[in-house]
Assembly symmetry: C2
């Protein structure tokens, strides 16, 4: 037992008195093995505690059953939810995955990471890095040079890419529409960083809805945050400086809402009566904010799962040399109404 020698298919074959191929057949559940032989081999496997060497198998089969996932830190609720979805679904479909985390938009490491993933023979790469910032300009080229399937998360639609995306624009619309229904009119926005596609889309949803309602002066109603609570705090001050009569804000994520709440308290504005607030994400804490936060709930876990499903199809097509028409799959968010947007009578 404590012997350090790793037991291989050979040991099993010898112990069972058969050839290695037969053992291999049993391992792969082939039906061209006699029941008795199969039983004997299985018993030996159990006794020896044998476990096949996946590396050898991958090498021999030319398939690794491994995905590469490139993410962007784990600091956001969305990121971790997506990852959870990816983990579960890939498990379900028999893939394992190698996780690479980008901390900032670091061009240099991208090269390195992609090389590394390819070296590890991943069968596909899920690109779960937000936005396409300036710094990543050259990236699409690189990723399309890659000889294996790539599925993007939350990326703008293009013709040739497989994409799974949250409908952030719809989210922005839902939030704004709700505030309008509550009677707010001067509805501002605190966006996320401009490079983030997510932030852009949420803003777009707000913008379109405002215009449709005949409201304008939108530029004075917009400030940019960086997703942190601190930036939400600053954001409210900036917004009021530009538009003193702002009466509601669509805040592009829940953390920033927390900062807005704090700033509002300091300057004596009352939420929701003086200022209606709608956030985005529905982090678990949102229901316990004071006041509880109306917010757009996004099922990021589902998004991750969908990405993996797409990937599985993509890979299959790729291997059969069939042509695969990459497409975009949308996940729709929903509005969760709480107190921060409902004026008390």
């Amino acid at each position: 037992m404590a012997h350090n020698h790793k037991i291989t298919i050979k040991d099993v074959a010898k112990a069972a008195g058969v050839s290695t191929q037969t053992v291999s057949r049993v391992l792969n559940n082939r039906h061209d093995v006699s029941p008795e032989t199969r039983a004997r081999v299985q018993e030996v496997i159990a006794n020896l505690g044998y476990a096949p060497n996946v590396l050898a198998r991958s090498l021999s089969r030319g398939r690794s059953n491994t995905l590469g996932v490139v993410g962007f830190g784990l600091g956001y609720y969305g990121s971790t939810s997506v990852l959870t979805g990816i983990e579960q679904k890939s498990n379900e479909l028999g893939f394992s995955f190698i996780l690479s985390l980008l901390d900032r938009f670091e061009m240099e490491r991208v090269d390195e990471i992609l090389r590394d993933l390819l070296s590890r023979q991943v069968e596909g790469i899920i690109w779960a890095v937000p936005g396409i910032s300036q710094a990543l300009r050259g990236l699409p080229k690189k990723l399309s040079d890659i000889p294996i399937p790539v599925v993007f998360l939350n990326k703008e639609k293009t013709n040739d890419d497989a994409i799974a995306a949250m409908d952030n624009r719809l989210g922005g619309h839902l939030a704004t529409e709700h505030l309008l229904e509550q009677g707010y009119r001067r509805i501002g926005i605190i966006t996320g960083p401009a490079e983030w596609w997510e932030a852009q889309q949420r803003e777009l949803g707000w913008r379109e809805t405002m215009l449709e309602a005949g409201l304008d002066d939108l530029d004075n109603l917009k400030v940019e945050g960086d997703w942190t609570a601190a930036s939400g705090e600053v954001g409210l001050h900036s917004l009021i400086a530009k538009a003193p009569d702002v009466d509601a804000i669509f805040v592009s994520n829940d953390q920033m809402s927390l900062g807005v709440f704090q700033a509002a308290r300091r300057i004596g504005m009352e939420v929701p009566n003086d200022l209606g607030i709608v956030g985005f994400d529905d982090i678990p804490e949102a229901a316990y904010f004071y006041p509880s936060l109306t917010t757009v709930r996004q099922n990021a876990k589902k998004l991750g799962a969908i990405a993996v499903e797409q990937m599985a199809k993509f890979i299959q097509a790729h291997q059969n040399n069939e042509d695969f028409k990459p497409d975009i799959s949308w996940v729709k968010p929903s509005l969760v109404v709480r107190k921060s947007s409902i004026q008390e009578s």
Copy 2:
């Protein structure tokens, strides 16, 4: 370029007019290659865009440079921080890792996960699952049956295990001591689930500090939560039912504090004047709670990094057949004082 044939060391060798062995030497930065040959080979590698097949290399070398990490969901701030630390440090040390997530304490999947990791030839396993619940009774046996190094995160000290642990007991002490210094006397605790070692240790720190201060009736001052804000809310009500004169609470994580805040507001208790609160974790939002939350900051990222470092040493010893004396490494938390525990004069 678009040719689907994967280029191997052979292609490189042929193109460079050398043997595969020489290419291998260049790849591995051996110094027994002539500068000209090396240059030529490197050029060919660059031109062909060759990347070595890590699976083949691992198989041949008998080393995978891969770690297995078993975690417990990504729902907690601590979990994700630990994982971030693990990712960074293992990257730094040249390991990649396979992540397996347990969602609940699911005994069955443990077997499966361990087998899978071993199949993938990981060189060591980092066990980052909290506590040793009833359900995991059999686990230590299994893990010690494993023929590769295992490093545990946040586990009680034993003689034979390599452990990296947050000093939660110290954290509990710091929190309680601080509340005592602020003049609070009837200091309650809302703990995490009893099976979690982390929760036990935080409680122990509180308990010891209270006893040292000559305070007792501790059982009436304790209720158990489940880490969620909702359980914090319930917790305060329960606590007041048992000890109506409670004047402060050490809440074992920040999320539950949020629930306590909400409950306190509902029943007209003012934090910190009627009720001092200290949390645990220092999640990014804690500074923006209302009131801002005094809490115990734990550097979980560092914890993850330390675990990987231990693992690296362990693996090295394991391979050289040296004996490795497993030990426990502690990471010390610190107190961050904000408004929830400082009575206004």
